[in-house]
């Protein structure tokens, strides 16, 4: 045993020194390496999971906003369509009314013109009638005054008629 120990170079102070070396290295590396790096790794892990959570939330929010906007757009489109339809209805009504009015106006105008023509014609007939009577009266006066024969009568009437401006119709 003793010989084996010597042959291998086993040596108690060296063994203790090596154990001490390891302990020193352990303590120092714990301070300079493991603690800061494990802390950093954990921190980064937390940050990343936090970031992922935030991204998830943001995505959900964006989706919600998108849906909201889509809904609003749909509503607006529907409203617009309704408005357009309304306007088209109104326009059609106005057009129809205008057409009706125009037709009515035209009719009225025709009516009026016709009435006026009638009136004019009536007046013209009345005037003619008065004139005719007048002529007749004057022709009669002449007849009475000159006592004329038949031929005379005829001549007188013809003369009277020729004197009057009443020529035909």
């Amino acid at each position: 045993m003793g010989q084996a120990v010597e042959a291998l170079g086993l040596n108690l102070p060296q063994l203790i020194a090596q154990i001490a070396n390891f302990v020193v290295l352990l303590v120092i590396l714990r301070l300079t390496l493991y603690k800061p790096i494990l802390k950093m790794l954990d921190e980064r892990k937390a940050k990343i999971s936090e970031g992922l959570g935030a991204a998830e939330t943001a995505r959900a929010e964006a989706a919600a906003a998108q849906a909201n906007i889509q809904g609003q757009l749909d509503t607006a489109r529907k409203e617009g369509q309704e408005l357009v339809a309304n306007a088209q209805g109104i326009a059609a009504r106005i057009q129809a009314e205008a057409r009706e009015q125009a037709a009515r106006d035209r009719e009225a105008a025709t009516e009026r013109a016709r009435a006026e023509i009638q009136l004019e014609r009536d007046r013209a007939i009345a005037d003619l009638r008065g004139e005719f009577a007048d002529i007749t009266v004057r022709a009669a006066e002449k007849v009475i005054g000159q006592s004329l024969d038949r031929q005379g009568h005829q001549r007188i009437i013809d003369e009277t008629l020729a004197e009057s401006s009443f020529g035909g119709s």
Partner: protein, 440 residues
């Protein structure tokens, strides 16, 4: 055409190997198992493995300090590198031990891994086992023989040596100071045997010097038991060629009485010293750097730490219930418990020798190959050693982790948790196939 290429390639490889053999051959390796002592600090030998361990520690501490000096959330450069390593280790450990245990064991297991792997890989640097200080072995042997209180030899009360001791050295140009191990240096070893008196050893030493340095011809049997005539002839040869010279003391002068000389029984003369020529030294290069874990002290220290931490965690997790695993009265289980207890201690030895054996063998292999076949083949071994260095670090750390995980687990039939099946399975695997993990 193709054949030409193959021939040229083989010729080039052969030429390369020949160049290596002619100009770059390493010295004949002087394999020393104990780490060489560079200097002494009180009771503590500062060995080359100790020095290397300190350098490795300093590297680890400095680099880790630089890496974590100003931590950024977005890592880059050295911080990224260290984070990757720590992250990798943590992930591996969590897989084996579960998240909670991995955190608990992390510092110790990671330190074991980092210390071992950096030591192993650093030990593959070319200046390892090559640059060192020289020890003048030729003079040292004479002083050890002549001294009444030698340092390396042990003299019994009857004036003979109690223990065998081998003085190893190389035939070198130079001794003293810092050197790079020269190519092709020849190893020359002188061994002091049990039951020999200093005088007899001196006679053999004279014959040994004559044979190795002056071309004195003698067979091996006579080298171990030279006759007086042979010793005289050897001394004459040394005198004739001039190197190395035996310095004879004149008659019985005071030097001899003070222990500065030694009487040769064969020559009947007191020899005051040996003088080596400058180009004919017997010396040994003591490398400044040697692989940390090619020293059994260092691997044993690591094994003891692993053992201690495993038992500590066991007690911490289970209190004195931890001992139930070893001491119980359940028929056959009480016997198994004793075996378990024994295996806990045997682990220290298996930890220590697995690492020591692998790393030491690797160093010897590299030294032998640089001596036998410098260039080319040794590159393959370097590649292999990179792998071995990683494997050994992993195995040591992994076994520590697995044993620790087993130690903190609840034993006994009634408390088998269903929820952490994964952990138990991993530990059970390691438990039932320890051979697989220890095969390396």
């Amino acid at each position: 055409m193709k054949l030409v290429y193959i021939v040229v390639a083989i010729a080039a490889l052969g030429g390369w190997l020949a160049v290596g053999l002619l100009f770059a051959q390493g010295p004949q390796p002087e394999i020393v198992v104990p780490a060489e002592v560079l200097t002494k600090l009180g009771p503590l030998n500062i060995t080359n493995t100790m020095l290397t361990a300190w350098i490795v520690m300093a590297m680890l501490i400095v680099f880790s300090f630089v890496a974590t000096r100003s931590m950024k959330l977005m890592p880059s450069g050295i911080q990224n590198f260290f984070e990757a390593i720590i992250g990798f280790l943590l992930a591996q450990m969590e897989e084996i031990a579960g998240e909670k245990n991995a955190r608990k064991f992390f510092a110790v297991v990671a330190t074991i891994f980092l210390f071992v792997i950096v030591s192993n890989w650093f030990g593959l640097m070319p200046f390892f086992n090559a640059i060192g200080k020289t020890e003048d072995v030729g003079h040292e042997i004479f002083h050890e023989l002549a001294s009444p209180e030698p340092e390396k030899l042990t003299l019994a009360a009857d004036g003979t040596y109690e223990e065998k001791h081998k003085f190893a050295g190389w035939k070198m140009d130079d001794a003293g100071g810092m050197v790079v191990a020269k190519s092709g240096a020849k190893a020359v070893d002188f061994e002091v045997e049990v039951g020999e008196t200093p005088g007899q050893a001196l006679d053999r030493y004279i014959v040994f010097l004559a044979k190795e340095f002056a071309g004195f011809e003698i067979d091996d049997e006579a080298l171990h038991h030279p006759t007086a005539e042979q010793v005289a002839a050897a001394a004459a040869t040394l005198d004739g060629t001039g190197a190395p010279l035996l310095m004879m003391a004149e008659g019985h002068d005071e030097h001899a009485q003070e222990g500065h000389g030694l009487e040769s029984p064969a020559l009947h003369a007191t020899i005051a010293g040996v003088d080596f020529e400058d180009s004919q030294k017997m010396a040994l290069v003591i490398p400044f750097f040697r692989g940390v874990y090619s020293d059994i002290n260092n691997t044993l220290a690591l094994g003891i730490i692993a053992f201690f931490m495993i038992e500590f965690w066991g007690f911490q997790a289970l209190g004195f219930g931890y001992l139930k695993k070893f001491f119980n009265l359940n028929g056959i289980n009480s016997f198994v418990g004793i075996l378990e207890l024994l295996s806990e201690f045997i682990r220290i030895i298996s930890f220590a020798f697995r690492l020591f054996g692998n790393i030491f063998a690797g160093e010897v292999l590299i030294l032998m190959l640089t001596f036998l076949m410098p260039f080319l083949f040794v590159d393959i071994i370097y590649g292999l050693e990179l792998f071995v260095g990683f494997i050994q670090a992993s195995v040591f750390a992994l076994l520590t982790l697995v044993f620790a995980t087993m130690a903190v687990e609840h034993h006994g039939e009634e408390d088998h948790h269903g929820d952490d099946h994964h952990d138990e399975d991993a530990a059970a695997d390691a438990h039932y196939h320890p051979g697989a993990a220890q095969a390396h």
